[in-house]
Amino acid sequence: MKPVHALLMLLLLFATACLAEEADPWAERRQGMVGLIEKNVRATRQYIDKGSLDEQVMRAMAEVPRHLYVPASVRDAAYENRPLPIGYGQTISQPYIVALMTDLLEVRPGDKILEVGTGSGYQAAVLAHLGAEVYTLEIVAPLAAEAKEKFASLPEGQKVTSRVGDGYYGWEEHAPFRGIIVTAAASHVPPPLLDQLEHGGKMIIPVGSGFQTQQLLLLGKDQQGGLTSRVVLPVAFVPLTGGPAP
């Protein structure tokens, strides 16, 4: 290789690196967020029965541009490990909780997933990034419209079908679903949603306020249609003295 060619190659590499950086200046922050999630998962391993989350889930967390799903006013905090306000009294969950819920659903490519409570659209995007066919309902019309717009413009949104509607009755025409995620506050688990969960499927419901998830309710429907329910605490806290956090 002539020196001039080598120089040109180096210049090209430099330009590519600059362009890549310009294309996604948020990548480093996103990696930082993923690091925090991994740390939290390690700390809570005895509660969630695993020392690490599924690799695909972590990859999705590392690739879905969370900053595009939050309002511009809080964009700078998009990759902090905390819930953020998204307007209309709604929040986007803490990334750690999003990752944990996604992992607990055990999504495989091609699975049909129903989401009740689209919110920012971020959770649906993460699920779609995993290859799921996502159907999402939002009861607050302006939020649903904003999310729909994002889905149309972003690659992971192409696998998301959204509409405004009452999540209580699910989405009958696309049922049954392999997984259902209910992020909208509910005083109870709507019976129609349980009916739309396919045998062997899973449903997850975070319990608590938008700014503090107290526990995750993980429902499973076995092959005979029987229900199992597991309560997952997202925190490593032993309430007895002498029981330190691992």
Binding site: Q90, I139, V189, P191, T213, L227, S229, V231, F237
Partner: protein, 825 residues
């Protein structure tokens, strides 16, 4: 200064300030959550302290121009009171984000500084009057207290009639009325102009009040419900209990069925939602056509007692939207009694929504009592087969630990004892609560039930307890007789069909505890067994939340915070542990931590900034430290006694609104009379003698209040509310009368100059710290200790009475003779 002090305007401005404080508490409860109101307003009241400092620093200049500044400050109070509230609504504070976003701390600081302005203006005006007319300080202070007492009663009466926003206009009107009256009292030449401007300003504020609506936090459940298309507010009612809002959502009906079994297949009937202060959702259910439509009500943990031992006579606490009544009717209970604190809720159900609910309150099987549960139990002396308390608190504040500072007399050992005493031989108490993980409420409730059963002489309390849990709620059943074999079988059937776990029941195998809603560790079940074992006390001591039973003396059921857990909880905040934060208590501590240095600064600053002569003036009355201790102890002790007496009055008046209004009004009115009497009495006795007499009487009367409160409560239940309120006022009168004397007596000993305003500021700071100290001490040691501490502080008051450089009798004469003595003006 000779001349008649502006008594009436002092009373009016004092009434306006107290009305503003209460009004803000209500408005903040509507737009935010109760505890943020507490936080902002407590700190804003430091405006009293700041006014003292400002007056001490600029007293010469201000007093010389008091005829201009006094009415001007009153007008400023009137203008800034609504203005600061409307500006405050523009501050994007979100209390729920306080532990996530440091900006929220700045917003909070902005709010407290903003709300400090009206309190500063009003307090500065009163301080100015006290300084200018220091020869009649007892009477001026007396009018100040009388005005505050009247303001307290007036605002609570008004809250039944008008919305809190309209009260802002009333506060502005009071302030402007005070300014106009002051113009006449001071003989201003432009008094007619002032009166006309005031009228115009009131009209403007009223119009602005209509045009500028409230902006509640979008995170409040009411606001979130209103986001749904088609939802509309049908009715809104206001009272001292809060603002009731009835919401209909025809497109997406409300379906409130908390803790409904996962096995349930029936859908709740359409409902209308009733919110209290934008939270605390309760549902009015549309009339059922068939009994089966109410089947879902049998699919909740709260339905358990109806299956354990079918009751004939049921007492329900909290009528709410009537869901518990429907549940009882579903189980064909022939005699239902429901107790509801808020009469407006009863009116709503009976009148406005009687037809919608199918005449819910109309049946012969139902009696509704307006009042407090324990009061109704004691008054009526009836016995019931079942006393049911189902999800009395709303979910969000409960989950966030925001109820931590609220006294609650429903879940104390004495309350449980009352319930057990009013059961028929086979009767049960059933209490349903939101499930918290890691467990707190349910364990504390179990510990409370165990303590009450032991108090009843039950050797093996475990034979009398059943605790079940669904995925969201728990129900504890306490039985008067040991649980029988038949009931055990029915319990297992009930839980099996509904996928509920039996956390604990005598004779039921442990495998039931974590069968359906599986937890990694059955912490709740382990905890209940530990509580029932021989080392229950050790378990409570070692648990990372405070789960020791609450008592009437320490009625903080919702207080779970332990300092020993704080470091771990803070570390886990971002690791999924945000729900471990018991934020109510932390808010109190944070407010206290801000208030103490702020108060110290306000007290010390005048000393540092005053010219040497003024500093020497304070020294002439004894020593600066002595004066500071005296006025600080006076302010602190007054607040501690007032708050402890409200708690002592609760078992007599049984109603927080009545207890607060009767006690505060009685204290202020009689302390006002005491202050007015201090001058003529000091003229007859030596001021030291009068102070010692007052302190001795305070200690005697305070001790009587502490010791006789509970026995009196036991003797009085047969009397009507008016008689009980009258007796409470009579009991408070002598105590409050003497408590009104130390402050003016102390002021009269101070020389002219900056010392008086400085003392006014110290007293203001101490009062603010007093309300927080009372809550903190009560949470940890109980109200008896609060009262004891206050009485000890009065001993300190007696010991630190400012030394008079001159003749006491001359001072006493100066107190009563408007023409005697030099004045700063």
């Amino acid at each position: 200064m000779s001349g008649r002090p502006p008594f009436l305007s002092v009373a009016l401005v004092s009434a306006a300030l107290l009305a503003y404080e209460i009004c803000l508490m209500h408005l903040f409860a509507v737009i935010h959550f109760h505890h943020f109101a507490y936080m902002v307003i407590s700190l804003a009241l430091l405006g009293y302290g700041a006014s003292g400092s400002a007056l001490a620093l600029g007293q010469g200049w201000l007093c010389a121009r008091h005829r201009l500044f006094y009415p001007l400050l009153l007008a400023l109070l009137a203008i800034t009171a609504p203005l600061c509230f409307w500006l405050g609504q523009e501050v994007p504070f979100n209390g729920l984000e306080l532990f996530w976003d440091w900006h929220q701390g700045l917003y909070l600081a902005a709010l407290f500084l903003l709300f400090m302005v009206p309190f500063f203006c009003g307090a500065l005006a009163i301080g100015l009057a006290l300084t200018v007319y220091r020869q009649q300080v007892g009477r001026v202070y007396g009018w100040d207290l009388l005005g505050a007492g009247a303001g307290c009663l007036a605002v609570l009466a008004l809250l039944w009639r008008v919305a809190p926003t309209s009260l802002l206009t009333a506060v502005a009107a009071l302030g402007l009325a005070a300014a106009s009256v002051a113009a006449f009292e001071l003989g201003l030449r432009q008094r007619r102009l002032v009166a006309c401007c005031s009228l115009l300003a009131v009209a403007l504020v009223a119009v602005a009040g209509v045009l500028l609506p409230l902006k509640p936090s979008p995170y409040k459940p009411l606001q979130q419900a209103l986001q749904v298309a088609g939802t509309e507010v049908e009715k809104e009612l206001s009272s001292p209990f809060g603002v009731l809002t009835v919401v209909d959502s025809p497109l997406v009906p409300f379906r409130h069925a908390p803790g409904l079994s996962l096995a349930a297949r029936s859908e709740p009937l359409p409902q209308k939602a009733v919110f209290t202060n934008g939270d605390g959702l309760t549902a009015i259910t549309r009339a059922a056509q068939r009994r089966e439509q109410l089947l879902y009500l049998d699919q909740m943990t709260s339905a358990l007692p109806y299956h354990l031992q079918p009751p004939g006579k049921v007492l329900l606490l909290g009528l709410g939207g009537g869901q518990d009544v429907l549940q009882a009717r579903y189980h064909r209970i022939p005699a239902i009694t429901a107790v509801e604190l808020n009469p407006q809720l009863v009116e709503l159900l009976r009148d406005d929504y009687g037809a919608y609910s199918g005449g819910l309150l109309a049946g012969d099987d139902l009696k509704v009592h307006i009042g407090e549960l324990r009061d109704v139990l004691r008054q009526r002396g009836e016995r019931f087969d079942l006393i049911q308390l189902a999800l009395v608190d709303s979910f969000l504040p409960s989950a966030a630990g925001l109820y931590a500072l609220r006294e609650n007399y429903l879940y104390t050992v004495e309350a449980m004892d009352d319930y057990l005493n009013h059961l028929t031989p086979g009767g049960m108490v059933a209490i349903s609560r939101w499930l918290k993980n890691p467990p707190r409420d349910s364990l504390k409730l179990t510990a409370t039930a165990v303590a009450a059963l032991r108090k009843q002489g039950v050797d093996r309390p475990g034979e009398h307890l059943v605790l079940i849990r669904g995925w969201q709620t728990t129900t504890l059943v306490v039985t008067r007789e040991p649980l029988g074999e038949g009931a055990r079988g029915r319990l297992e059937d009930f839980c099996r069909q509904r996928l509920f776990d039996i956390v604990y029941a005598p004779g039921v195998e442990e495998g039931w505890a974590n069968r359906y809603n599986v937890l990694a560790q059955p912490t709740l079940a382990d905890g209940v067994r530990a509580l029932l074992g021989s080392d229950g006390e050790a378990f409570i001591a070692g648990y990372k939340f405070d789960i020791a039973p609450a008592s009437d003396n320490r009625p903080y059921f919702h207080h779970f915070f332990k300092w020993s857990s704080l470091a771990e909880v803070l570390r886990l905040r971002a690791s999924g542990g945000a729900a471990l934060m018991e934020s109510g208590y932390l808010i109190l501590v944070a407010v206290f931590a801000v208030a103490v240095p702020a108060a110290l600064l306000l007290i010390v600053a005048p000393l540092l900034l005053l010219p040497r002569e003024a500093g020497e003036g304070v020294a002439a009355a004894g020593s600066r430290l002595r004066s500071a201790v005296y006025f600080f102890a006076t302010g602190l002790a007054f607040m501690l006694i007032e708050i402890a007496t409200i708690q002592k009055a609760m078992p007599i008046l049984h109603h927080p609104v009545y207890a607060v209004s009767v006690v505060i009004a009685a204290f202020l009115l009689f302390a006002g009379i005491g202050s007015t009497l201090s001058a003529p009495l000091a003229a007859r006795l030596r001021p030291e003698m009068l102070l010692r007499l007052a302190v001795a009487m305070i200690i005697l009367c305070g001790s009587l209040v502490a010791t006789l409160g509970a026995p009196a409560a036991a003797l009085l239940p047969q009397l009507g509310l008016a008689a009980r309120a009258g007796l409470t006022v009579l009991a408070i009168a002598p105590l409050a009368l003497f408590m009104g004397m130390p402050f003016p007596l102390g002021l009269s000993r101070l020389p002219p100059g900056a010392a008086g305003p400085w003392a006014w500021g110290i007293n203001g700071c101490a009062s603010v710290l007093g309300s927080m100290t009372a809550t903190l001490v009560a949470i940890h040691y109980g109200f008896n200790v609060v009262l004891a501490l206050a009485l000890m502080l009065y001993v300190l008051v007696a010991a630190s009475f400012p030394v008079d450089a001159g003749d006491d009798r001359r001072q006493a004469a100066a107190l009563s003779d408007p023409a005697a003595g030099p004045g700063p003006g």
